[in-house]
Amino acid sequence: MSKQGVEPDELSRPFWQAANANKLVIQNCQQCDRLQHPPLRKCTACGATEHLEWKPMSGRGQIYNYAVVHDGPIKSLHEDQPFNVAVITLEEDSGIQMYSHLPGTPVDEVPIHGNVEVIFQATDNGQKVPEWRVVD
């Protein structure tokens, strides 16, 4: 699927740099030892603006939920409709969610609670993005 190109901004740059190196990192508050995603300028738990780091993840997760997009807003994805968009939760913290098109999984045949592993796919401008693939 042809995803829009991504232009990393200041807040998200480390995440996208890691993706280009085939690594998944998530923002973590060292003070609370708590992950948050998408990243913010401060920790939503303690409010601290310092102590925010980028923590490497295992790249393993689970499918929490999904819906099938038949009529979405992004032009470059229209030719691929309908497509799955699943909610992935991370092995390290089931409160952290990421979206996925679940490449390789047939439309509307998504195994809820199925295990997934991260892969990295290039978007239209070459920036890689974490995606997820169902594993046994």
């Binding site: 829009q4 991504v6 232009e7 807003p73 992004i74 952290i96």
Partner: protein, 440 residues
């Protein structure tokens, strides 16, 4: 006079705040609506500013209040339904210049300021209190209720307006561009429509409770039916078409399990109310409808979208705030008018409230019983956004009209309307008002 956004402290968002200090001391005494349209036709008399003036003047006239006595104005400055003025498109100067303008060239066209309204409504010469309650009418009326209660204004207009332009909803801007900024991309890169989050929650709900999407059909039929009895609404004015169960089940998906009809239709419309003190309300033209409480949900999802657990925790928490501040229980509700745009979260609102004793997982079963305006358990007698298009205020208008006994063909007959609740938008993040036919 610069108009500021309402401070967070004006909303009753905390838990255990006790009875609202102004319970029964603020009343709605006037309603005004502009006509609806699917999209702006480019004429001066139908731009969002002109529609707003129409609605405000209608509310003033409805109340019988002398405009010179009005000293407050609360509005939402954001009027977009998801449609934005296209980059590079020439400004509609022929329209703009028919009004008194502000420094914002698209004021009155794709946004609205208090300044613009006051410049174009000379009769509002004595307005001293102004505030923005950005978000939707549900929010703006809470600001007005608190401001009147606090004595910042004694006679206050509240307005919410919507513009809609040519083109597909939310498909301009970032969605049409080749690239997307890094932080936004983490949420938006996957091409999900606005109803996606609600579709997710509804899918989870169906799995958890063993329910199915077709069980929404009676609610949808009831909402359209009530909407067609709402002469101020879009479907009644432009497309008086009944929605059958078959129509609903045959509709194409937007984000399965959310179908076309589960998404409200964006329209152009303005709505206004006049609020005043209970004391001043006594001698006015309309029967006052008293505000028993306003409450806010400020919950936040931990992840990208609220999970069903997060939704249920939050709707239960919100219901406690709603009831406690009003000094009522669920059993006191004559009817409910919780928000429905997207239809699939109406069950979550209903269950959080515990309307007619229903518990989590029971709303869809409840929809299979008599939820009509003639029955003992009216559900969404306004018909909501599903029944009248996307205004996010039909439910408030309906609560006021029902309690005044002037809801016309939509008047509920199975019970006596005494106390009602309305509000939204989201089950996690919204503002709610408790209305009463009497001040205590």
């Amino acid at each position: 006079m610069a108009t500021e956004n309402a401070p967070a402290s004006i909303y009753r968002a905390e838990q255990n705040l006790g009875l609202w200090e102004h319970r029964g001391k603020v009343a709605a005494v006037g309603i005004g609506h502009s006509p609806t349209a699917r999209r702006w036709d480019g004429k001066a008399e139908t731009c969002v500013g002109a529609m707003s003036i129409l609605a405000l003047r209608a509310a003033i006239e409805d109340s019988g209040v002398d405009p010179a006595k009005i000293d407050g104005l609360v509005i939402d400055p954001v009027t977009t339904t998801g449609a934005f003025w296209p980059k590079g498109k020439p400004l509609p100067l022929d329209v703009i210049n028919q009004f008194n303008t502000t420094e914002q060239p698209l004021d009155g066209i794709t946004q609205l300021s208090v300044e613009w309204l006051l410049k174009n409504m000379p009769e509002l010469a004595n307005v001293k209190f102004t505030m923005y309650g950005a978000g939707c009418m549900s929010r703006a009326i809470c600001v007005a209720a608190q401001a009147v209660g606090d004595g910042q204004t004694h006679t206050c207009l509240v307005l919410k307006s919507w513009h809609n332009l040519e083109g597909r909803y939310y498909q301009g801007g970032a969605a049409g561009s080749n690239t997307i900024s890094g932080t936004a991309a983490m949420r938006n890169l996957w091409g999900t429509p606005a109803s996606f989050g609600t579709a997710l929650q509804f899918a989870e709900y169906c799995r958890k409770y063993g329910k199915s999407h077709d069980m929404m059909a009676p609610f949808m039929e009831n909402s359209r039916r009530n909407g067609l009895l709402f002469p101020e609404g879009y479907w009644a004015q432009h497309r008086p078409e009944v929605l059958t169960k078959e129509d609903y089940l045959a509709a194409r998906w937007i984000a399965k399990p959310a179908s076309l009809f589960d998404n409200d239709i964006p329209i152009t419309v303005s709505g206004a109310y006049l609020y005043t003190t209970a004391e001043r309300a006594k001698d006015l033209k309309q029967k006052p409808v008293y505000i028993l409480n306003h409450a806010a949900s400020v919950g936040r999802a931990r992840g990208l979208t609220p999970t069903l657990d997060e939704v249920e925790e939050e709707t239960a928490r919100t219901a406690k705030k709603i009831y406690q501040g009003a000094g009522i229980t669920a059993a006191d509700l004559s009817f409910e008018n919780m928000y429905d745009g997207f239809s699939l979260f109406h069950p979550f609102h209903l269950e959080g409230l515990g309307y007619r004793g229903i518990k989590f997982g029971e709303a869809l079963d409840f929809y299979q019983t008599d939820i009509s305006i003639e029955g003992p358990n009216p559900v969404s007698p306004s018909g909501g956004n599903i029944g009248s298009g996307r205004s996010r205020f039909w439910m408030h208008t309906d609560c006021i009209q029902q309690l005044q006994g002037r809801a016309g063909a939509r008047q509920i007959t199975g019970i006596t309307p005494e106390i009602a609740v309305s509000g939204g938008p989201m089950p996690v993040g919204g503002n709610y008002t408790v209305w009463s036919a009497t001040p205590d």
